[in-house]
Symmetry: C2
Subunit: 397 residues, 2 copies
């Protein structure tokens, strides 16, 4: 009676592994600034909370497997605001962007097949790959080149007969990079040449700064039937706990297969879909304030970090993350030390060791990911505490 290989091989969340040290720091009365995970502090819109209070139903019953039509229509309308024409029947509501990833992996690949992903990448791609017994093949990027996509031949060298898809995430978690039209065209060429699917994680769509416009792969001609977009309301409306996402595809076979996966799990949560609908019905102006807020935070973080002696840093254009290389050997040790051994006026900081965002062994060990999810004043203080911690750490190790 052994548990499955996939059950053994799936990686524990590297961030959650360190959580107990943060809890213990708090128990000792130390205030911890959490800039390790993408849990924004932006209040969830009033309309969302209100939707939970209004039900009008007597029975909290199953909804359709693909999600309520009203919500699918609202998502189609939302894309129309970006001049991206999709139909409600291109949308399947998922239980968070997480389930959208799982569906996308499972529909393009069978066990043992491969999906190419520029590295570093969102940790949970690894989790879902193990869960679905699919292999992620990393395509290395570096902080020195601002985590831009590598030249075409470096990507192409990773393609094998087992490769079924390339997965892009833009704006990128964990790097904050927003891919340019040219970079996306490069991938488009490979997708067509090698007969692949393109999975595009665009959950940070709104979070682009410096006047850059985010380009969705849904806007590309010629690969419409190859494209599977992963979407989520978690960050868009500060609704992480709602677990509502979506898969968007123009490929009817993909849609029908995902629908069957969706039928197996019956439906997404009913009340959370109503809450999501309320969020989508808000004025689109909602985002401009939030975008301004995050751009300010990005600037505060970048300016605050860039002069750290020995740091390697790039300026992110989107999402709310940055990966920086620090003059340390083992970021997991550093992050843990900050929680167990350091405090400044009773405060410390938790960042994320970057190793968890790499699948190539030993990569990212001198890097950390920082999420700028705190308001300016707290963020400034967190940066100061982090810098002082780093100084002390380097004087010891």
């Amino acid at each position: 009676m052994n548990i499955s290989k996939r059950g053994l091989e799936i990686q524990a969340s590297p961030i959650r592994k360190l959580k107990p040290f943060a809890d213990k720091a708090k128990e000792r009365g130390i205030q911890v600034y959490f800039i390790n995970i993408g849990q924004p502090d932006i209040p969830t819109p009033h309309a969302v909370w209100e939707a939970f209070s209004r039900s009008g139903e007597e029975v909290l019953s199953y909804g359709p497997a693909q999600g309520f039509v009203e919500l699918r229509r609202a998502i189609a309308d939302y894309f129309k605001n970006y001049k991206i024409p999709i139909h409600e029947d291109n949308v399947i509501i998922t239980i968070g962007g997480s389930e959208a990833i799982h569906f996308a992996f499972s529909v393009v690949a069978d066990p043992g097949e491969e999906i190419l992903v520029p590295e570093p990448f969102y940790t949970n791609y690894n989790g879902y790959a193990a869960f679905a017994s699919v292999n992620i093949v990393p395509v290395p990027m570096t902080v020195e080149t601002g985590f831009r996509l590598p030249p075409i031949d470096e990507i192409e060298a990773k393609i094998t007969p087992k490769t079924k898809a390339i997965l892009l995430c833009s704006p990128n978690n964990p790097t904050g990079t927003v891919y340019t039209q040219e970079e996306l065209e490069r991938i488009k060429g490979l997708i067509q040449k090698h007969d692949l699917f393109l999975i595009s994680d665009e959950v940070y769509k709104e979070f682009v700064y410096d006047g850059i416009r985010h380009k969705s792969v849904l806007e590309f001609e010629g690969i419409k039937d190859r494209t599977i977009v992963i979407d989520s309301i978690s960050k868009r409306f500060s609704c992480c706990g709602a677990r509502i996402g979506a898969v968007i595809t123009h490929n009817d076979k993909v849609y029908q297969s995902i629908l069957k996966f969706a039928q197996a799990r019956l439906c997404p949560p009913t009340m959370e879909q109503k809450a999501a609908l309320a969020a989508y019905r808000m004025d689109p102006d909602y985002f401009s304030e939030i975008r301004k807020e995050y751009q300010k935070r990005r600037d505060v973080l970048f300016e605050g970090l860039k002069d750290i002696p020995g740091i390697t840093i790039h300026k992110p254009q989107g999402a709310f993350y940055i990966i920086v290389r620090l003059p340390i050997k083992d970021s997991e040790h550093f992050v843990q030390w900050m929680l167990t051994d350091f405090s400044l006026d009773n405060q410390t900081v938790m960042v994320a060791p970057a190793q968890g965002f790499y699948s190539t062994p030993n990569k990212g060990r001198d890097e950390v990911r920082i999420a700028y999810v705190l308001k300016e004043e707290d963020l400034r203080r967190a940066i100061h505490v982090l810098k002082e911690g780093l100084k002390k750490y380097r004087s010891i190790f």
Copy 2:
């Protein structure tokens, strides 16, 4: 660019396939009695609705991957009421019983490995097996023997080196059978002898009639570390749309692996967990009324059906389903015909063709599953309409 084998092979929900015919019947002004799916009409408890209205938080944020400790504790307490001692750390909250099934399948079996399931069985086991690339091996049962478990050698004959677990569902969906202590002991022996896991779907735990006491596999000594229980609030509290379930296990390796699967999808929906907590905090007397109501319905249905000429029927002891064999050749055709060609005083009935509950080809083609999820008066009328429909159908085909 082909979609995956699992994406092609996963079976479309046979019930949902017929749904459009029901929709068209409704469009023609015909009232359809839906006794095809397990969507109870019992009002969702007031406490659940109230929990959705009270939030007190500003940000709808992520919760822990294993679910809120308060809810896990409430579930442990609930089991204690049944004199089954489990600890909150034996519980992982899942997104519906559905996800619990998926986690259980994935933790015991790798792609290509096998799980034995007495047949007929809940359709979505098939869906999750395809999704997880695991093979379900059916162990045939029949209506003539009341869908009791077959003799030990018939079950044992199905065990191969690829077999990793036996999956039981009691009270059973779709048969309504509640396994006896002796039947469970039989399975326990096989589990031990062949070094297997026992996955036990007990989501209908409360729905047992005639004074029978449901026996949980958690009560069995000697297989504690082999047991994985699937649980859900959907039927228990008439909260199908909440999508809150649980996995319960005393095996720490199983727990840790499932926790990693759970971490990949971040967390179950936050508000729905609060609603579930409110449900668990209700007086346990809540169930006795509901049990009485369902037992009455079961009796009405059984008495109403048993005299149909040519019917083969057994009296179910639990859940709210029955599988009956009708004097017809193709129940899918019959169910569709009832929706497209028949009505009595502008009313018709939708039942579920039983084929979807079998994985053995051609089995169940002359059977239907009926869910007694309507109140007595409606159920009586539905039975009458069904009988008249069947009479007419047999006069034509």
